[in-house]
Amino acid sequence: MKEPSTQPLVGFFVTCLADLYRPEVAFASIKLLELAGCRVEVPSQQTCCGQPAFNSGDNKNAAALAKQTIAAFADYEYVVGPSGSCIGMLHHYPELFEERDPWKQRALDLKARAFEITSFLVDVRDFTQIQSRFQGQVTYHDSCSGLRELKIKQQPRQLLAQIPGLTLTEMEDAETCCGFGGTFCVKYPDISNRMVSNKAESVHQTGAELLLGGDLGCLLNMAGKLSREGRRVAVRHVVEILADEFAQPALGQAADASLAYPA
């Protein structure tokens, strides 16, 4: 392997949900990467990682999207994205190709370079320069793919611990699935609803004013449930707090505070 460069060139993997719902998550990630000494580019040929196809058994389309992603990020020392789930999918790419297929090696190569943002900052960059003015009590949901496929557990907590005004109160069952599961939440809405209701209750029990996590799918699911239940907990992606970028209202919250919660 090559010696890691001091100012590595990172290809930023935006992810569909950050692109569509929460551009702040992408901007905050890029800011953090730059603070960690990286040069960042956003390849324009990227779209989706292909997970919806892969998890639906459509390996043909999953492989096509894998090739597209591999090609788009071929020239970067690292590929970093703000989602354990999408980056986890990049780690699945080698399973999509036969041993003799030249794409197999390219997929393995991408896998070795692909990191979720918090694990990249901690495990690769040993980053300790978090400068955020956040004050308050938060809780953290461990999204399943990041936790179990990429072993992301301590990394976001280590970064959050660098913020002096922040107190992290762990919720019960922080590692239990929130019920999002990609298409699961619309294929099995009743079961998903039970799971996210349990999660909303665990979040509420901590008394935290802010719920953080590393995956927008899960965060949208939990934010939607919390607001439907009228619970006064804001929801943000962890990078927004880490990058000191929380001027924008939290997920699903109106800029006008009077519209923030149902009456």
Partner: protein
């Protein structure tokens, strides 16, 4: 057992509103995962043992024929017989014949999921033989005409009130809400059955090739009475339960109890080795092992082979948030939870079980706790792939996926689609920044709000910044 897997969604909906079931399911977490976690924490070498167990199972599966033949030879040496059954029907017929040859009127049964798999009780009853379940949970279910909802705690879906009512009806004694009293009632009733039974049928947790022994683990001791008192002992087991030696067996036992109930060891670990010998105080005069294949050898050599490592500890279902929400009956067949979602399609056909491998968020908790490291999400994905290839995936989902993939494979069109979606979501949300009713998205908004996008898409904003020289 009637197959109800095609109605999984409806079953789940009913389960979610069943107050009694939901109360009973509340006991799962404290009963199993919390205890397992403590047991694992006390054993630093637990993960190393899991690796060993995985590797050993892989070795056994590579040489399954060899170990089964050694097992058979040693059973014969001990005075027993082995019956090879390719299908559930073969197994039912064989056991019926053995019971008839023994002139059996009643048979006692230890807990056996394989006997559920082959639907043994109904078959025996249809031929005038009365099976009596002796595991407390199974006994309760038999009285109620019910089926197991869990592979090690079959009556986990019931509450004390249910048992109290059932016993009151069947035992004709004053109603009691004292678990100890109820247990005593069951014990007294079952004692009589143990004594008069002509045949005892048990399952097996392991088959030991080197000694020709079968092993059952129980916490009640009912299995011991089932297999030692009657003149005939029939063991019904699936083929993948074989292990080479007693020492290998003990490796799995160390993992099994801890993974299942958080016990360091199950209370009774009972080996059966052939027939009663000269000088033995008790034991059966005839010893039969019925080996059931029922689709398992078709799993060898393929992607599903890893499923055959399963030692039936139930850790996957105990830790599964989907199982925890709906219980075992919703899955509609014998094996519930993640292990069932892999095994059931193999046994009843993917056409009937199509919904099961999809009923997972792929959270990965099952794989995390599996003592033999079965990659359950990967194996569920194997079935999803099979469904997609065979056009069993619902047509609407296929279309949706096809349209989405068409755009996703064309980056500039995908940007356009994202922009249109972004704009639509924002205009639907208005100033409230959330959508309470989403057209075409009712499955989401019936239960929760849809937060709105905070502004234009990232790609739009990024391009704008770069054009105006604000590239950070």
């Amino acid at each position: 057992m009637q197959i109800r897997s095609p109605e999984f969604k409806q079953n789940a909906r009913i389960a979610l509103t069943d107050v009694g079931l939901q109360k009973a399911l509340g006991n799962v977490k404290t009963g199993f995962p919390d205890k397992r976690a403590k047991a694992v924490a006390r054993m630093p070498e637990f993960d190393a043992l899991r690796d060993q167990a995985r590797d050993l199972k892989n070795h056994i599966l590579q040489h399954l024929d060899l170990y089964l033949e050694i097992f058979e030879a040693n059973v014969i040496k001990q005075g027993g017989q082995v019956h090879w059954c390719r299908t559930a029907e073969d197994a039912r017929q064989t056991i019926l014949r053995l019971c008839q040859e023994a002139g059996a009127k009643t048979v006692t049964k230890g807990k056996s999921m394989v006997s559920e798999e082959i639907n043994l009780n109904a078959h025996l009853e249809a031929h005038g033989i009365q099976p009596v379940e002796t595991d407390l949970g199974e006994y309760i279910l038999q009285l109620r005409g019910d089926h197991p909802s869990h592979i090690i705690a079959p009556a986990i879906h019931l509450n004390l009130e249910d048992v109290s009512e059932t016993f009151h009806q069947h035992h004709h004694k004053p109603k009691s809400m004292d678990a100890a009293v109820l247990m005593q009632e069951a014990r007294e009733t079952l004692r009589e059955k143990f004594v008069v039974a002509d045949v005892g049928i048990t399952g097996a947790n392991f088959l030991v090739a080197e000694t020709g022994s079968t092993l059952i683990v129980t916490n009640e001791g009912n299995g011991d009475l089932t297999q030692t008192l009657p003149k005939t002992h029939i063991v019904v087991s699936s083929i993948e339960k074989v292990v080479p030696t007693l020492e290998d067996m003990s490796l799995f036992l160390r993992l099994l109890a801890r993974s299942a109930t958080g016990q360091e060891f199950t209370v009774y670990n009972t080996l059966s080795s052939g027939t009663k010998r000269l000088g033995d105080q008790d034991g059966p005069e005839a010893f039969h092992v019925v080996l059931v294949d029922n689709g398992r050898s078709d799993m060898l050599g393929g992607e599903l082979q890893e499923m055959l490592r399963c030692i039936r500890c139930a850790a996957c279902m105990n830790h599964c948030p989907v199982y925890g929400a709906i219980g075992g009956h919703a899955y509609g067949w014998v094996y519930p939870g993640p292990m069932g979602s892999v095994l059931t399609p193999q046994m009843i056909g993917i056409e009937q079980a199509a919904l099961l491998p999809n009923a997972s968020t792929f959270c990965g908790k099952c794989e995390e706790v599996c003592p033999v490291r079965i990659p359950l999400p990967k194996l569920m994905r194997h079935w999803r792939k099979n469904e997609f290839e065979r056009h069993l995936t619902p047509q609407a989902a296929r279309w949706g996926l096809g349209i989405w993939a068409f755009f996703a494979k064309r980056p500039s069109l995908y940007r356009l689609l994202s922009r249109i979606s972004n704009l639509s979501l924002r205009s639907l949300a208005g100033k409230k920044q959330r959508i309470e009713k989403l057209p075409f998205g009712q499955a989401w908004t019936q239960m929760r709000d849809m937060p709105a996008p905070s502004g234009k898409t990232f790609m739009q904003q990024w391009q704008a910044r770069n054009k105006t020289g604000h590239n950070s």
